[in-house]
């Protein structure tokens, strides 16, 4: 390279084209872009396309798939009560996010968005669960909810009732998962709201105050409308996040008892991968993919149109 450059001035007629190819814009594109394209194609797009293909086969993952079964995997999945339950459970995650988690996050954000030392301390505490690994959060809570050892055991003993195992109770096991999800994620949504609230111009709030708006009035008519974009984004994260819940469930209930607490992803893992039913698992992956894309597209259409 150095040689080319020193000769460049003397022999520009030859050097210029070489310089253009090696160090010009095209050369940069040819050198800098392929690593990303190759990695992405190999480990994201190719497996994704694989899902779309294998979903129509009955295949254990060895050799090439030959046993074409059409939509049988999808039909079987739709008819499987554990799958139906997993969809209901994932919808429950969305519902709890919208009804409990986000209002709680918003309330807390309104209480501590001002920059004071004590608010900063609370902010750090509330955000702490978010940075812990989900698997650790699940394990911690499986201790708390252990009927023989945990805090739940303390409570039942204090009340003088029999030990209670919430994670082995068919009708309440998934509620345990929901509690952990709220515990883990409300701080994240609170942070989004805090960042947005801090961006609301102070004069707007003061102007509303001078015109006689009450504290609640300011919140309802100034602050919440002003942070609407943040709320839209946080709802989107909740919905997309609900489709991905996996780690938390494994240590808590592992999908049990009697497959009552699966999410779509734990269902995929248990009935697809753990049994090496690649075809069946791929079909679940395809359904998950379609759900995620539908959510993204509809959401963008409905709320995220940029003001022209």
């Amino acid at each position: 390279m150095a040689a080319v450059n020193t000769h460049a001035e003397a022999d520009s007629a030859i050097a210029t084209p070489r310089r253009k190819i090696l160090s010009g814009p095209l050369g940069a594109a040819l050198i800098l872009l392929p690593p990303a394209l190759v990695l992405f194609t190999l480990f994201v797009i190719y497996p994704l396309a694989g899902s779309g293909l294998y979903a129509f086969y009955d295949w254990n993952g060895y050799g090439t798939p030959t046993d074409f079964v059409g939509f049988e995997n999808f039909e079987r999945m739709m008819g499987h009560s554990a799958f139906q339950q997993s969809v209901v459970n994932s919808l429950q995650v969305i519902a709890v996010s919208l009804i409990v988690q986000l209002p709680l996050a918003l309330l807390l954000a309104l209480l501590i968005y001002r920059r004071t030392p004590e608010n900063t301390a609370f902010r750090l505490i509330f955000f702490l669960p978010y940075i812990l690994a989900e698997i650790a959060a699940g394990l911690i809570w499986s201790f708390i909810m252990d009927g023989n050892f945990g805090v739940v055991a303390d409570i039942t003993r204090a009340l003088g009732v029999d030990p209670y195992f919430i994670t082995s109770d068919r009708s309440w096991a998934f509620t345990a998962v929901l509690v952990v999800i709220v515990w883990k994620y409300f701080g994240f949504h609170m942070m989004i709201y805090i960042a947005a609230l801090q961006g609301v111009p102070k004069d707007m709030i003061e102007a509303a105050r001078i015109e006689g708006a009450s504290r609640l009035g300011v919140i309802r008519h100034v602050q919440i409308p002003m942070i609407k974009p943040a709320i839209i984004v946080s709802v989107f994260f909740s919905v997309i996040g609900a489709l991905q819940v996996f780690d938390v469930v494994i240590p808590l209930t592992n999908g049990g008892p009697a497959n009552s607490s699966h999410t779509i992803v734990t269902y995929l893992y248990t009935f697809g991968l753990a049994r090496l039913k690649i075809g069946y698992g791929s079909a679940i992956g395809v359904v998950l993919f379609i759900a995620a894309v539908l959510v993204a597209v509809f959401y963008q259409r409905l709320f995220m149109r940029k003001p022209a």
């Binding site: 940069a28 480990f43 989900e134 960042a195 984004v233 893992y269 991968l273």
Partner: protein
């Protein structure tokens, strides 16, 4: 007037403290549990230990397996960060700096990863990693993690790069600086804030990842700490104090890291969201 203000403040702080105890209670029980005997945990989960036992923590800290899990996680996370930053910023630089036919299309292509959950393609990914002979190697986790993280990284880098002053590039180009040298010498050094944000974000994600290692790592030698932790839990299922000590020791680095890097973590998680 003032009295109602004080009352309001008491209610506010009281409510905040209730929520704080909901957050901290389980964590406190976990840390303290590692100092207790099992019989004591059984009689009271939340109290301070009657006798502080240090042997459980010491046991785990002197177990080479524990350090092996942490080491594996560290190697995988650092490699994922380095690879994501390098590959992602190189591609983003092209999108920000070079105009060429198909640039928009390729950018949309690389953004597809933002659209769907990782789990969607996990089964074919497992098959492919196996067929490439990568099962039980660090690469089995590093490469897919990097590939899936690229979409967000490229998006963030491109935005940042295109906001760098254009005059700088023009001046350097006139001076004979090549596109690639400009990338190394100017773009990357000027972009440390976004590199740090993306790097921290990628690191935390990799450090906490469970599903992918679970699928592609089978031997204990290659286990990352989340897998090691579940293994440990399985082995000592009746001895909660051991599991709790293990959990404490693994979340401790995360907490320290968080306090040190919170500026970047919070910026990375909320910055894009609020702007978007």
């Amino acid at each position: 007037m003032t009295r109602s203000n004080i009352l309001r403040e008491i209610i506010r702080v009281g409510f905040l403290c209730i929520v704080a105890s909901f957050v901290l209670g389980p964590l406190a029980a976990t840390v303290l549990g590692g100092f207790k005997s099992n019989t004591e945990i059984q009689t009271s989960a939340l109290s301070l230990p009657e006798i502080w036992r240090f042997d459980i923590y010491a046991d785990i800290l002197s177990d080479p397996g524990f350090w092996r899990y942490l080491g594996n996680s560290l190697i995988i996370s650092v490699a994922t960060v380095v690879l994501t930053l390098l590959v992602g910023s190189a591609a983003a630089y092209v999108f920000a700096q070079v105009r060429f036919f198909g640039s928009k299309m390729l950018f949309s292509y690389l953004s597809l990863g933002l659209m769907f959950p990782f789990a969607t393609a996990i089964l074919p990914l497992f098959v492919q990693v196996r067929d490439l002979g990568l099962l039980d190697t660090y690469w089995a986790v590093i490469l897919p993690q990097t590939a899936f993280g690229l979409s967000l990284a490229i998006l963030l880098f491109r935005t940042f790069f295109s906001e760098l002053p254009k005059e700088l590039f023009e001046a350097a180009y006139v001076e004979g600086c090549s596109y690639i040298r400009f990338f190394w010498q100017f773009t990357l050094p000027l972009s440390t804030p976004i590199l740090a944000t993306v790097g921290v974000f990628v690191f935390v994600q990799s450090w906490n990842n469970f599903l992918l290692p679970l699928v592609v790592l089978n031997s204990r030698e290659a286990f990352t700490w989340p897998l090691g932790m579940m293994q440990y839990r399985g082995e000592f299922s009746v001895e909660w104090n051991r599991t709790l000590a293990f959990v404490t020791l693994t979340i401790l680095p995360a907490v320290v890291f968080f306090v040190a890097a919170q500026k970047y973590i919070v910026a990375g998680l909320t910055g894009g969201a609020v702007k978007g």
